[in-house]
Symmetry: C2
Subunit: 139 residues, 2 copies
């Protein structure tokens, strides 16, 4: 038995690629357009970590997917949580739980999927602007 992927439904494929690929830093492994089903699948993963993937399902016909709390988040370890959060901010992503402790941060996808970022190894030294940045909303 082996974990393959987490699937999330997205309402705007370009906005989701901007978030998961450009801002978060995942790599697109493959894209599959299925015209007869009117949907597109995009599989992404952390660079060099293709075994655990995220599958984006984009239905061409608009749907309201809502949001709930039974699904919590996807978690990734990162080499430099400050650099990751800076890149996310530079792409317009709000850091809803800033890495005040040099260890943990949360952001949300355009479709309200929470992403937890954890500093690999020991926490970094707390520093500005992160240490003084408040939480925003929930994650």
């Amino acid at each position: 038995m082996q974990f393959l992927h987490t699937m999330v439904r997205v309402t705007d494929l370009q906005a989701s690629l901007h978030f998961y690929r450009d801002a978060l830093g995942l790599e697109v492994l493959r894209t599959q357009e299925v015209p007869q089903g009117r949907f597109t699948l995009v599989f992404l993963a952390a660079p060099g970590d293709a075994r655990a993937q995220v599958e984006l399902t984009y239905n061409w016909d608009p749907q309201d997917y809502g949001r709930a709390r039974n699904f919590g988040h996807l978690a990734y370890a990162v080499d430099d949580i400050y650099a990751t959060c800076q890149r996310l901010q530079a792409h317009g992503v709000q850091i809803v739980r800033p890495p005040r402790d040099g260890y943990m941060a949360f952001v949300r996808s355009p479709d309200h999927i929470s992403i937890e970022l954890l500093q690999r190894g020991a926490p970094l030294e707390p520093k500005q602007p992160w240490v003084g940045m408040p939480n925003i909303g929930t994650w």
Copy 2:
């Protein structure tokens, strides 16, 4: 950057362990009780595949987590999709999308998290009772 886990919130920890561990076949890697936060965390993974984990968050005070469609499912490859579905059924889990094609099945956790099961390698030969079994609900 490396994928760590998918977190889901559960309303009944014993029912969730029955589902994820006993019926689905994941292994418990560690359990963390946090009395000051009134929650328990349980980390599970497919046997021998500890890098991609599922984190169950059980808040001791009851909450309604709802359900939505923005989160889709968790997917696992299995060695024998019929044996996996039989074990799930034997533990009282309804097969909402039976493996009629010898390749794909869906079940749902007690908190409505969809799990996709995919036969590793080539599909198995279609056979009864699966081939004649209808879908039930959505996933």
